[in-house]
Symmetry: C2
Subunit: 326 residues, 2 copies
């Protein structure tokens, strides 16, 4: 295995995006801006009621990997698809983005995961995920060589939901640390944090070297509605934290310092993938040896690009946007 | 069957769109702006070499149906998908667009058709179609009641390629005419016209009441490189013809009159679906009893909307754009 800058591990999902009115969310009892796990029956019911969609490869950590690769990082990804048409689409897209994807597909089981994403007129996205083949991702799918070869192994918080994946998660951290590498985690979603708070808090404190979270997630983790209080705890419990606050920018914390980073101005079309792109920009700069302030700037530029169009994967020339030489 | 304004018949295809450089087309020997039929091996080879894609329901006549429905027309569609995931995507999207889709899926045969579309920096699209389940569409799939119930049955010229479909094509025209209805055809592609010129010319002259064609297609049909000469033949051989000329607008011809229609100004992002949308605007206005000049205006507005974004299905509020009351 040649060396990697970033290895992402997450739920391998194909997104189905459709525009929707707020009334649709209300009618289906959806919490706006959040992610709900759904079974096959709900998936069919919601999909049947949705407007015409556009399909593209998604998955939080996979989006991060695609964006980081577009920023010139050497990237690998682990996640479980089925051996079906959507699984081929996922594999094609992440490979075509320049990301190594060694995980074998699931044969003869559940179909490839899909996420039904409703984009409301304000650009907010509300997600409904049918996990399908993802739930079988486990320790056997950990590619030891890839994890040991990566400067940073990046874990998606959503992986706390499928039971087998939580063990894989901890296994990945063990392998990375044994190889002298760093482990990053993103909290993914405040509802996901609520479902697994104790496990999350222990993991962040004991296993994570780098933490990504937005305001709602970090407040959910530390059970406070005061962002500054949550940030103070994060600063004391993890070596490096990047806390995002939408248009208010982000805060990068180390045990000794805090850097405030401004958000890049942009027009909000669809917030799908904004946090994923932020983490990608940050880690691509960090693993390229940049200063933390520059990591924050790359993160903000990548997040702004993601927000400015429909869908989570990059459409613009990100290397040019951050001013990185080829 | 309740009455329909438009019934479209065509190849039921899911599009896979990716941005590409001109060098990619050259490397794969593709004719820019055209549509080539490919087998499963070529489909795999080209897809494997393409960049990350976005999937959305397509198919020329199906796009026309979706746009016409967005303009308030009552629309039905006949076309063959497989009983697979992409077939479900196709069925969902056309149904969610408000189009009746009674054709049964193909069970246990070839997969749902897909079209690999390369969009070059100039906004032109170059298409590579793997017909899959489409090739089985035949006379048995003709829904007599739907055809008899539709003011206009709209046939996609691409259907001349699959052998079984040509017979279905003629059968549909017979049913429509027996019910006192009109038959429209679009030539679809100059290469498709070259492949089936005699059959096309006979069908246009003997069966079609309404003809749609662009400059390259009408010139290919009548084997001339002089558009005016081709237009004169079209005017003498078909009752109503709408000939499109990209940014030069379009020409609407009846046996007694010619209307020149200006193109709507817009920024070209992706020409995929421009001709399909033009036909949709035209037929939605025509079946709503509008004058021909107004039909041309709706057609131009719908085409401009299609060109202004990535993908063939409408994204804007077309009723508002043409100023139609709800």
């Amino acid at each position: 295995m040649t060396s990697l800058d970033i290895l992402g591990i997450g739920n391998a999902i194909v997104d189905v995006l459709a525009r929707s009115e707020d009334a649709f969310l209300a009618r289906h009892g959806m919490a706006k801006g959040g992610m709900a796990l759904i079974g096959p029956d709900d998936a069919e019911r919601i999909y049947g009621d949705m407007g015409p969609g556009v399909e593209s490869s998604g998955g939080s950590a996979a989006n991060t990997c695609a964006v980081a690769a577009a920023l010139g990082a050497k990237v690998g990804y682990l996640g479980k698809v089925a051996d079906d048409a959507l699984g081929e689409v996922f594999r094609h897209d992440i490979t075509a983005a320049g990301v190594t994807f060694p995980t074998a597909p699931l044969a003869g089981g559940a179909p490839t995961a899909r996420c039904l994403i409703l984009v409301t007129p304000d650009g907010q996205r509300t997600m409904n995920t049918f996990l399908g083949a993802c739930v079988t991702f486990g320790e056997a799918d950990l590619d030891h060589d890839a994890i040991a070869a990566a400067q940073v192994t990046y874990l998606e918080g959503y992986l706390f939901d499928p039971p087998a994946a939580q063990a894989a998660f901890r296994g990945a951290a063990r392998i990375a640390h044994a190889a002298g590498r760093r482990v990053a985690i993103t909290l993914s979603d405040p509802f996901c944090v609520e479902r697994h708070r104790d496990a999350f808090r222990a993991f962040v404190r004991d296993e994570a070297d780098i933490l990504f979270a937005n305001e709602a997630e970090i407040c959910a983790l530390y059970q406070t509605d005061n962002f500054d209080a949550a940030a103070t705890i994060a600063q004391s419990e993890v070596g490096l934290a990047a806390l995002t606050r939408s248009e208010k920018g982000s805060l990068i914390l180390t045990s000794g310092a805090a850097h405030a980073v401004a958000a890049e101005p942009t027009t909000v079309v669809d917030t799908t993938g904004a946090g994923d792109a932020y983490a990608a920009g940050f880690l691509a700069a960090l693993t390229a040896g940049r200063e933390l302030a520059e990591c924050g700037r790359w993160a903000s530029v990548a997040a702004a690009e993601a927000i400015s169009h429909f869908g989570a994967r990059p459409q613009a020339d990100l290397m040019a946007l951050v001013g990185k030489a080829r």
